[in-house]
Amino acid sequence: MKTITTDFEYLAAATIEEALDLLSQHKDDEYRIIAGGQSLNTAMKHRLIAPEYIIDIKGLSDLDYIKFNEKEGLKIGALATHRSLERSPIVREKYSVLCEMEENVASVETRNWGTVVGDLCNADPAADPAPPLIALDAKLKIASKGEKRTVDAEKFAVDFFDTTVQPGEMATEIQIPVLPPNTGVYFTKYSQMKGDYALASVAVLITLDKKKEICSNARIGLAGVGSTPIRAKKAEEVLKGKKITEALLAEAAEVVKTEISPVSGIEGSADYKRELAGTLLKRVGKEALQRAQKA
């Protein structure tokens, strides 16, 4: 069976400062940051990547947190595992869409060791976390030695398996704002085998006005239908300021199809994925609306 055959220099960081120091030192080297390594190790086994340095941040327990307050919302540290997000009582209470998403990510064993931030850094365009995070208006905090910046979730991935994180930088946190009242969020992915990699996935956030009649805000995130996860801004505009009906969702679905650029693969053709994205938008939008009405 395959093993990792490329030799690399292994550097483990004990603190965040140490990690940022190492990153600064090796800025110009071929390095990879490893957290859970659930994608990285398989890529190395297949010789898809052969880094000279591995900077291991798995030991940074200071970044292993999920915390919420009513002002700043939810903060997910870089070392929080998928499983801890899935099982977090506060997340289940305040942002249940994230738990629902996590329940279907890979397998329990992968979720027990792999991190949410690490998954975003891997930037598989079909991966699950991005669409609900986009819908929730999440931001990623990125740090380097002496510097910090924040990036919108929808701008984090820049291409297949590539993010805006530059050499010397490290993503440290996901920030999700408090949701306004009358907000409902829903996410679903479709794959032929349950819980498998998405052929297409959609997340929709709907905020209703005080009377719960008009949609005051809509955010739509998709994955599996482009070289990165996508925020469907035009489709959002279709919904905003109107009463959401099935007909309106169907209209938004048609607009979504124009905002995505799925790629054909053995799992499905671009045309099918496009159709699928539209179908999912209608279904997810309907659920999100019902949640907003109940909220």
Binding site: M1, K2, Y190, Q192, M193, D196
Partner: protein, 781 residues
């Protein structure tokens, strides 16, 4: 499941102590503690690791191979190419020498992507892997051919010289007169299908540990195989050694499903490397090697013509198959044969004709995966039957009932059903379906499929001089029993069945029996685990052997009891006693001691064997039944949800209900995969999905609940009335599912693998067809 004390055919009440009772796996403790040793777990002192360098081209001449850099790499002990091998060719179709087409390493040319051209043995697996990168091979690529219909054309590239039109095997089967039959039919339809390749996906990859003894010149090989005997023969041919100098041991095997019948390059090259280095050598495939270079289910094109009377009776049936054989024969020629036979079962077909052609192509070869040819062929026949039923206005279960065979049915010159419960199966199905699924929701449908399957094969393509199965039983002074046979438990539970049959015959407990199975050093040959043969064939051999010993015990008991000659004695509950006066008997343990003393101190032995004679061309016995699947279709995504499965099954006397259920469930998992998601897309012979991320199989969340109902019969050719108990149920799953979709939304399919995109397309085509043509009433064509 299982019948205990039920009335059999002939009205004989039979109550068994062990047969028919749920019995835990005798290998259970070893498997649940991780102690069970599979080949992949085995090591020997001073062992080297081997790896194979494989062709990147589907078809190319080998111009030169430079191994010098690899040989110099630290840790590498030897690098070999084709010229360094003994050069023997082998194959399973040994009866036809020209079909022994496999060789250890390619010599003049390569015939598929992955065809091995060199082998390395090194001190670690990593070094061996790295050394492969240092071997320089110069190829001259040749045009390749990948589809069988292309392969038989005049201008197609020749995969093997001396095989014009790339034809590897042909098969013609005929009875009655189809042309007359079609002339008499009220309704005739023709359909063409494309059936895809699928991979067996055993969890334990192919791997071998070979150890050559310099002193004696003998070879011992541990390998993950379904037949140590096949490996022994093939290795002897490949290495130009005597069979008796090759010992093959089958440890626990992590899955087989028909994909480990052929002897593969891991085995032969591990042996050669060991012979050359004088050290044990182990070769383990990676999962991508497993997908790309090991045998898979043969892809086929099938054309069918069906003629029915307007009351639904079949009058004529014609099938043509052209199968994608790939680069070698393997057991693919057998699949060609069986495609043309299973396709007719379990129905009365007065006039039948089959023509099958297997072609060589430049892909890895297609062979005998679980279900043999029944899987692709039933998919076609049963989906066609549903369409015919619809056109004729006949209920789909009813059309199967109308045509179902009865006991004693004979397909002239081909097969005969002695035990045959298909009709009671269908009756039971009709009742249970109404109870189980009284109402269907929107876009739900129920699909049926009848099925039958062999209990081991008859045609001696392996050209063995030995009995098809033999077993040796030895009873020791303390009453413990040693059972020897080369029969293979590959997970199906045969070890447990073997112990049960032996124990039942001797009237003792399984705990008294120690198994010695799957080692060719025990000269009690068995052909291995394929075609569901072990229970019937090895079971008969074991029962024969144990029966001989039982007779000796009965003889001694008769002497000691001195009873009226008219009384029968039975062996049961560790005693031998008068059947009609159970209180009059003697302890098994005492009788064993007496018998050994009376035998000059020699332990009691029996050697049994079984070879079917005069049982037609296919098999001595057939399991059969009917399957129903309820499915729901999502019209917008094309998703097919296999919600629920019901099987009514005649498996004769079930030996172990636990094992039989396990096999039925497992075969349905594989059959549903064939119908939903398992495929092997290739681009110019390159497999596009060689890992489990992309080769999709059903997971636990995708599996429906399965209800199994049993119709017990008594198979006279099998031990205690047993016959095959579960390979049969793989073939009906995909067609029953496709029929359920057809019944639910009217979408028709002419290929398997109902991926959502394909289903959506078929639904849209049906919707358009409905809009275009007004609904036609009455009978079709």
């Amino acid at each position: 499941m299982g019948a205990d004390g039920e009335v059999r055919e002939g009205g004989i009440m039979t109550e068994y102590s062990i047969i028919g009772k749920p019995t835990p796996n005798v290998d259970g403790p070893a498997k649940v503690t991780g102690e069970a040793a599979y080949t992949i777990d085995m090591t020997l002192p001073n062992m080297l690791y081997g790896k194979l360098l494989r062709s990147p081209y589907p078809h190319a001449k080998i111009l030169s191979i430079d191994t010098s850099k690899a040989e110099e790499f630290p840790g590498v002990k030897i690098v070999i190419t084709g010229k360094d091998t003994p050069g023997g060719k082998w194959g399973l179709w040994r009866r036809f020498r020209e079909l022994a087409d496999q060789q250890a390493l390619a010599t003049d040319k390569v015939r598929f992507i992955g065809d091995p051209v060199a082998a390395v043995a090194a001190t670690t697996e990593e070094i061996a892997e790295k050394a492969l990168d240092l071997i320089e091979v110069e190829y001259e690529p040749l045009p390749g051919v990948f589809d069988p219909i292309e392969a038989i054309k005049d201008d197609a590239p020749m995969v093997h010289e001396d095989f014009p039109s790339n034809i590897n095997a042909t098969r013609h089967i005929e009875w009655g007169n189809v042309d007359e039959g079609f002339a008499q039919a009220d309704y005739v339809r023709e359909d063409r299908y494309v059936l895809e390749a699928a991979h067996p996906c055993a969890m334990e990859v192919h791997n071998t540990l070979a150890s050559y003894d310099k002193g004696t010149g003998r070879l011992t090989v541990w390998t993950s195989t379904g037949s140590p005997y096949f490996v022994q023969q093939n290795l002897a041919e490949a290495l130009k050694m005597r069979e008796g100098d090759v010992r093959v041991i089958k440890p626990h095997v992590g899955g087989h499903y028909g994909g480990k019948n052929s002897t593969m390059p891991d085995c032969v090259n591990a042996a050669i490397l060991s012979m050359k280095t004088g050290r044990p050598v182990k070769i383990v495939f990676n999962r991508d090697e497993e997908f790309t270079t090991t045998e898979h289910r043969t892809a086929q094109h099938i054309a069918l013509k069906l003629g029915l009377k307007k009351d639904g009776t079949i009058v004529a049936f014609e099938a043509k198959a052209i199968t994608n054989g790939g680069a070698f024969t393997g057991l693919g020629a057998t699949t060609l044969f069986l495609t043309g036979t299973f396709i007719t079962m379990p129905y009365r077909i007065p006039n039948y004709r089959y023509d099958g052609v297997r072609t060589y192509t430049n892909i890895v070869w297609g062979t005998s995966i679980r279900g043999f040819g029944a899987v692709p062929s039933k998919y076609c026949a049963e989906t066609q039957l549903d369409r015919a039923a619809k056109d004729l206005g006949i209920d789909p279960l009813e059309i199967r009932r109308i045509n179902a065979v009865a006991p004693g049915y004979e397909a002239p010159g081909q097969y005969k059903f002695e035990s045959c419960g298909i009709q009671p199966c269908i009756e039971k199905m009709a009742v249970r379906v109404k109870e189980k699924w009284p109402k269907l929701e929107k876009d739900e449908g129920i699909g049926y499929c009848g099925f039958a399957y062999m209990s081991g094969g008859i045609f001696n393509w392996i050209d063995t001089p030995y009995a098809y199965s033999s077993a040796h039983v030895k009873v020791n002074f303390d009453g413990t029993v040693d059972l020897y046979s080369q029969a293979a438990d590959v997970g199906q539970g045969h070890n447990t069945v073997a112990a049960m049959i032996c124990a039942e015959e001797l009237g003792i407990g399984i705990e008294d029996i120690r198994l010695h199975m799957g080692d060719t050093a025990h000269a009690y040959t068995d052909l291995g685990a394929w075609g569901s043969r072990e229970t019937l064939m090895n079971g008969n051999a074991i029962k024969d052997a144990a029966g001989q010993i039982k007779q000796k015990l009965i003889d001694i008991a008769r002497l000691k009891l001195g009873e009226n000659i008219a009384y029968d004695l039975v062996a049961k509950n560790k005693r031998v006693y008068l059947e009609l006066r159970p209180e009059r008997g003697l302890s098994y343990y005492d009788l064993v001691k007496d018998a050994i003393r009376a035998n000059d101190g020699v332990p009691l032995t029996g050697t049994g064997h079984y070879t079917p004679h005069n049982k037609g061309m296919i098999s001595p016995a057939y399991g059969m039944g009917i399957m129903a699947i309820k499915a729901k279709v999502d019209r917008e995504t094309g998703h097919v949800d296999a919600q629920d499965v019901l099987v009514v099954h005649d498996s004769g006397q079930i030996i172990n209900p636990l094992g039989a259920r396990g096999q039925v469930e497992g075969s349905i998992h594989m059959g549903l995969g064939y119908g939903l998601c398992e495929e092997m897309p290739m681009d110019q012979g390159m497999l596009l999905n060689p890992e489990f991320v992309d080769y999709k199989i059903l997971r636990t969340r995708d599996m429906p609940q399965i209800e199994i109902l049993d119709v017990p019969t008594y198979e006279p050719n099998g031990p205690f009335g047993a016959k095959e108990a579960a390979e049969a149920t793989i073939a009906p799953a995909a067609p029953a599912l496709a029929n359920a979709v057809y019944q639910a939304v009217g979408a028709e399919f002419f290929s398997n693998v109902l991926k959502p995109e394909k289903v959506l397309k078929a639904i849209k085509e049906k919707e358009q067809k409905d809009k275009a043509t007004p609904k036609a009433k009455g009978k079709g064509k």
